[in-house]
Amino acid sequence: MLRILAKIQKIGIVTEPLPKIDEPVLQQVGEQLKAKVGELFGGSLAIRQVDAGSCNGCELEINALGNPYYGIERFGVHFVASPRHADMLLVTGPVSRHMEAALKRAYDATPEPKLVIAVGECGACGGEFGVSYASCGAVANVVPVDGVIRGCPPTPLDLMRGILEAIGKFQAKRP
């Protein structure tokens, strides 16, 4: 236990400051995200991530949002296990034909009003895989989409920006 505490003390909080590459803007994006989530979702945005056929690259970057650098939960964003608890679906693809029915069911199970974001080049347009006997291509070919986050895969910061942008549209959707 002492060693754990020593390690924690030595490492400290790595979340701030972030000098490398494009991270000075992380805090800024994060604060905006937090404000919007506060305003529109009572401080808590629940996301159900659906891999509808991706290569797993996008999933790795979505998972990175939970590491201590990004710590997306501190901005009020968290990932839930059931679409019934979700405000937003974050869908990676191309949507394989074998996942078509499952994605539609997840969409139907998500309560209105809901937001759907297509993630990655594949989710946005089918990417390298396109449309074929096995692939429906873009997420929008299967369920209605409110926003896309491009990139192959999008970086964690791109993902945060994309989520922020999409919830801006939520205002319009609200009854």
């Binding site: 056929g53 790795l60 979505i62 990175a64 590491n67 394989s96 034909r97 029915a101 499952a102 990417g127």
Partner: protein, 527 residues
């Protein structure tokens, strides 16, 4: 590496009046190509099994009136490609599954994709095919249109016949295809009594994207991009294996610096995935301290990959003939400094995890994969190494630049989650050592050789040790330098079956940690 066993095999087969014929196949070298008669296909597997050869991969190819069928075997680091042909009109072939349980799903994949019937296969159920194409259709036959023949929405696959358990107190838990976390889709069917798992059956294929089919007609660069996306977590290794196959088919020598950079990127990919997964395993046993520490290290590591090589996963950096990224001296020094800083951190963190009773309690003896089971499936990578089988292509069948390096391979017999984690932590440290050597001796040379269009029909085999284990990729070119056939065999084919077996008699709540400790690729398997 020794190919002496091939002569023994030929002798034993000859004694059964089975005669293989060696064919010239420069693109497949160092593997050797032998053709066999269709009827002898079963006897061949029988004798390779008796010689304790590993069943590496199986794949077919539509060649007009015939379907060419291939199986790759390995022993002592030497590979043999066996080939036969079945009539398109009567596509029957003896199965290898009775001798090699690991051939089960690959053969069912061939059955679904090419319409070859394996005559004595113990389980003729479909595997990769769900409801996106009909039983009578074979997507990998040349006359099947890439757009398919089905219109309208694809129905859910609710008719797959799972094994069924009966008895007092037995219940089933269906899980997926969409899982609880941010992970790839697949279906798991558990039969349990109380907390104890009696049996697990996987149903995969949900991420099938038609990779083999849409590869056809691409040029070399286009195939490298597709190979980079077979399994995003192994983008470097898959791209390398595909490029190696194409370069061998084309007879291209890759410049020395490019080979070193490929190895540097491949080791960086190994370290990133091992760090991330060790953190995830610790998370699954509620040791969140470990999760945050290892995910922090992974993030640091990926950031330097991006700074030095332009992409957090180094995607599309391996290209036909070489690499598409250079490393400055300054970045090479930064990489060495990062290794020097991380090495003691990892030793310290693994020490803490080892000393934490709650972690030990959850990992030790959990998810035991017996060495004989691992062998039956030809389990690769850390799954094989934790269960007594230390095959590592970097050491056992070395390719440049690993032929210049000494690769240490950790092997344990315990076969549990703890052993798999231990192998992975040690592999991180071993990769650090390899990276140090590669970075200090990085040669000067061009980054990319000029591409030469290979002759129509040229074929190549690429074999690379990814972080999950050996990848074997087959490529054949058609006319005009366009791809006629692409088959990447991800190591996950060999470990998914291990997951089914290792979970038996464990408690249901230990499934996530068992799954994570093996971490098969869905996308790399489903293709």
């Amino acid at each position: 590496m020794s190919a002496a066993w091939i002569d023994t095999l030929l002798g034993r087969l000859a004694a059964r009046d089975v005669h293989l014929r060696e064919e010239p196949a420069p693109g497949l070298a160092p593997a050797r190509l032998f053709t066999a008669k269709t009827d002898d296909w079963g006897a061949l597997a029988h004798e390779t099994r008796n010689l304790e050869c590993r069943w590496v991969a199986g794949f077919g190819e539509d060649a007009g009136d015939y379907i060419l069928m291939n199986t790759v075997f390995e022993k002592d680091g030497a590979y043999l490609v066996a080939r036969t042909q079945v009539k398109r009109a009567m596509p029957f072939l003896p199965s290898h599954t009775p001798y090699y349980p690991g051939a089960d799903r690959p053969e069912r994949h061939i059955q679904d994709m090419l319409g070859v019937a394996f005559t004595n296969h113990p389980d003729p159920r479909r595997w990769t095919r769900h409801q996106a194409w009909r039983d009578a259709d074979c997507p990998l036959r040349k006359d099947f249109p890439v757009a398919g023949r089905m219109t309208g929405p694809t129905p859910p696959d609710d008719t797959y016949k799972f094994l069924y358990a009966q008895g007092a107190g037995v219940y089933e838990i269906p899980v997926g295809p969409i899982h609880a976390g941010t992970i790839e889709p697949g279906h798991f069917r558990f039969q349990a009594v109380g907390e104890t798992v009696l049996n697990l059956e996987e149903h995969l294929g949900y991420t099938h994207k038609g990779i083999e089919k849409i590869a056809e007609g691409r040029d070399a660069d286009g195939l490298a991009r597709l190979a980079s996306r077979v399994s995003g977590d192994s983008t470097v290794a898959h791209a390398w294996a595909a490029c190696m196959a194409m370069e061998r088919a084309a007879g291209i020598d890759v410049p020395a610096r490019a080979l070193y950079l490929r190895a540097i990127m491949s080791e960086r990919e190994r370290v990133a995935n091992h760090l991330g997964d060790i953190g995830m395993v610790l998370n699954d046993v509620a040791f969140t301290f470990g999760f945050y520490q290892f995910s922090r290290l992974r993030e640091d590591w990926q950031r330097l990959s991006r700074e030095a090589l332009g992409h957090r996963f180094m995607m599309d950096r391996v290209v036909p003939g070489g690499v598409a990224a250079n490393l400055t001296d300054q970045m090479a020094i930064a990489m060495q400094a990062q290794i020097a800083a991380m090495r003691p951190e990892i030793e310290n963190l693994m020490g803490i995890a080892d000393d934490t009773a709650s972690v030990e309690d959850r990992l030790v003896t959990t998810g035991y994969l017996a060495p004989e089971t691992a062998k039956a499936y030809g389990a690769l990578g850390y799954v094989g190494k934790a269960s007594g089988h230390g095959f590592d292509a970097r050491r056992n069948a070395p390719y440049a630049p690993y032929d210049q390096l000494h690769v240490e391979v950790p092997v344990y017999q315990y076969g549990d989650v703890a052993a798999r984690v231990k192998v992975r932590a040690q592999e991180v440290l071993i990769s650090f050592g390899l990276l140090d050597k590669l970075l200090t001796s990085l040669p000067d040379s061009p980054l990319r050789a000029n591409w030469k269009t290979p002759a129509a029909g040229a074929e190549g085999l690429g074999i690379v040790e990814s972080w999950r284990g050996e990848i074997v990729t087959y490529v054949r070119f058609g006319a005009d330098g366009k791809i006629a056939r692409f088959f990447p065999r991800d190591p996950s084919w060999t470990t998914w079956q291990g997951l089914e077996k290792c979970i038996r008699d464990n408690i249901v709540p230990d499934f996530p940690v068992c799954n994570k400790s093996i971490n098969g690729s869905y996308s790399g398997h489903d293709l």
